[in-house]
Subunit: 430 residues, 2 copies
């Protein structure tokens, strides 16, 4: 057996501690599968005395993670600090500059600086691996970058944020409102104290930008991702979706279109019979559609110490075995810029739920506006009667342009009899 | 860009022709992802003049596939002949002996001769890749061997034969009997003229033997797999399963047990809410449960030209990139023999459906036998009454030993009032 692969880990939060535990608990089988032992020999974290439930005896200690990049005894740097800037970015840049392979779980870093980092990795010949950055323990990066590499990919769809999926699942199963479930999720540790990153869709958008780059062989383009979160989803809309045969999921969708590539993260109505509709709770899923392979669905835990450590360790095993892949699946020169399709050009069906004053003529006004903008109705339901009071009206449309829908929506919102901002949710046939 | 990878393909059936089409249609993106073009330069097949819908112009032609192993211009041999013996085996052995990497879709070959072939590959340093051998287009081998490699695997469960899953799905959706659906599947080309390999579970058992070897790091052990097919499944049992909240699926299950590793292929009742219960038609699924990653579900097309070619091409891209993995995930010396748990030692719940004479005392006789063998009942249903005639009685048991159940079953079958051989289907909680 060759000499051990010596690993330096920066960041000893839940995932960092989980990685140390995994590499120790499964040392023997990992050595067999990696062809050599994989051993953590150095760590960097702020507080040396915090109890992390894992022994740090005998490990070289760094208070400054960036200094660890120069550790001559470390074969690989694992970056688990997080954040697209600051020490995480500085450490990865320093390690790659030193020609040292890097494993990271940092989606923000890859989504925002992935092209520059790939250039650095290519120049120095060092691997930059990031299986843990997308969909936690699901080997989605490996599947897309290697397993399905022979396919032209038409579309990648994912449930990419476990916090959002957990909240939406609870809302549906318990009929509760968003704010209520979020507060509970924060108490249980399933949502951050500042939950914006998750629930406003940014985390999912980082991951989608990465998947889209891999799927379509083009430079990562986070700014092009259209992002909406789940704050505006109400228990009422979830209930109405159920009645229509849909589930509401926060999806990331990257697809080839006539105009190029569309990337979007937003709540979607998906048919209850589609495999992705049944991915509940903290589970993540990635669906890839290839021209030869057809539809492949991958499902598993998208976060947490164990699944994330599993993905980081898989990257380490690849490095130990000498299995290398360019950061974006192909050399930088082989990536092709493809135009980003703006959201206004999106073509799809819509669910529109209004709270209107129950009086004659309101529906005629609403449907008249939709007609004016060329939006064709598929169905209209007004449940219950309450003359002179607010009642929900649900409309579903046939596929139309987003720009038309938005123009119609602005006029509908301004109608006097429309009492609240309407709920607009895109219907995805998938 | 480096010089092209030159590929010699033996076997030009559906999959072989599909591979040629794929490598041509997606040549550009494959070259980008492989770091160099992948080009078929030689083929071997029996009939040169058959129209395969793909041009063979300019390719070196071999009538004897084994002779192709000596083709000095071929960098890789792709074996798509099939069968565990004869030319397929001879070609793979000859290629590995010559130090030439081999890609194959041949599960029978791997399941029966995998240990010897891996030894040959290890000795000569040549890769033997077989992503296409299990679950078609789903990158299941890569997921298990690389993506989840850091995990101790508790269990792998799979829907591994599309023909069986298609037949069971049709039987359920259309309420038809096995023989009827099989005949139609044969007409449609979803089942072979001699369907035994598929419907008797042998094909699934080959695949399960491969997955078990990878999951548990032990030499492949096909003879240890307990195999039952789907011939005995009736429309009645499928309907009754539905009423009990189950689906009947032909599963391959490999799991760690107290006594070692149990590997079994047989029809199972699985809870309708489990993801694997909803994998219908020709789709395949593989569920892996790891100690750190938890449950990962992979789903996709398990057969057909496109998905199989996609998997073969993924292996070729790995070879072009120089990404190598030992055949069984670890070097031969690092594999550990683990005892095979015999089926008699299986511990689980059972569904037992009898056709009994509707007269007093029959149920008492049946339940008395079960009691005598220590089998505890969970439920008993007799639907409808028809004094003096045959009526179905369904019993479900709590978990018990297979040996106890079999002993009880033999006695129940011999009861005078039991009119047909009973249907016994294992219930899997998963």
């Amino acid at each position: 057996m060759t000499r051990p692969l010596s690993v330096a880990v920066a960041g000893l939060g839940t995932v960092g501690a989980g990685l140390l535990t995994l590499l120790r608990d499964n040392a023997e089988l990992i050595a067999a599968r990696a062809g050599r032992p994989i051993v953590v020999t150095a760590v960097a974290a702020r507080d040396r005395n915090r109890d992390r439930g894992v022994s740090l005896d005998g490990l070289r200690w760094y208070e400054d993670p960036v200094a660890m990049a120069a550790d001559a005894q470390a074969d690989v740097i694992v970056e688990l600090i997080g954040g697209s800037e600051g020490p995480a970015r500085a450490l990865v840049e320093a390690a790659l500059a030193a020609g040292k392979p890097v494993v990271t779980a940092n989606k923000a870093l890859l989504a925002l600086h992935g092209t520059a980092l790939a250039g650095q990795a290519e120049a120095s010949g060092a691997t930059l691996a990031y299986e843990a950055a997308v969909a936690g323990g699901i080997p989605a990066i490996k599947a897309l970058r290697e397993g399905l590499a022979a396919n032209g990919i038409r579309r990648v769809t994912g449930i990419l944020n476990g916090t959002c999926n957990y909240i939406l699942t609870c809302m549906r199963e318990q009929g509760r409102e968003f704010g209520d479930v979020l507060a509970e999720a924060q108490k249980l540790g399933y949502a951050e104290a500042d939950p914006s990153f998750d629930i406003d869709g940014i985390d999912a958008a980082h991951k989608l930008a990465i998947l889209a780059a891999l799927a379509f062989g083009r430079p990562v383009d986070f700014p092009a991702v259209h992002v909406e979160g789940i704050r505006a989803i109400s228990a009422l809309d979830i209930r109405l979706a159920d009645q229509l045969g849909y589930r509401i999921k926060l999806l990331g969708i990257a697809e080839r279109t006539e105009g190029g590539v569309a990337t979007r993260v937003h709540p979607c109505m998906v048919p209850a019979s589609h495999p992705i509709a049944r991915v509940d709770g903290v589970f993540n899923a990635v669906v890839a559609e290839g021209d030869f392979v057809g539809r492949v669905v991958l499902e598993g835990r998208g976060a947490g110490a164990g699944p994330t450590a599993s993905a980081v360790a898989a990257d380490l095993i690849d490095i130990a075995r000498g299995r290398a892949t360019p950061v974006w699946g192909a050399a930088g020169a082989a990536l092709t810029s493809i135009a980003a399709e703006p959201m206004e050009r999106h073509h799809g069906a819509y669910y529109l739920r209004l709270m209107v004053l129950d009086r004659p003529g309101v529906i005629a006004d609403v449907t008249g506006v939709l007609r004016d903008h060329g939006v064709s109705l598929e169905s209209m339901i007004q449940r219950g009667r309450a003359p002179g009071e607010a009642v929900p009206v649900v409309l579903t449309t046939h596929a139309c342009r987003e720009s038309s829908m938005r123009a119609a929506l602005a006029r509908i919102t301004a109608l006097e009899a429309v009492l609240e901002p309407p709920a607009l949710i895109r219907i995805e046939t998938l």
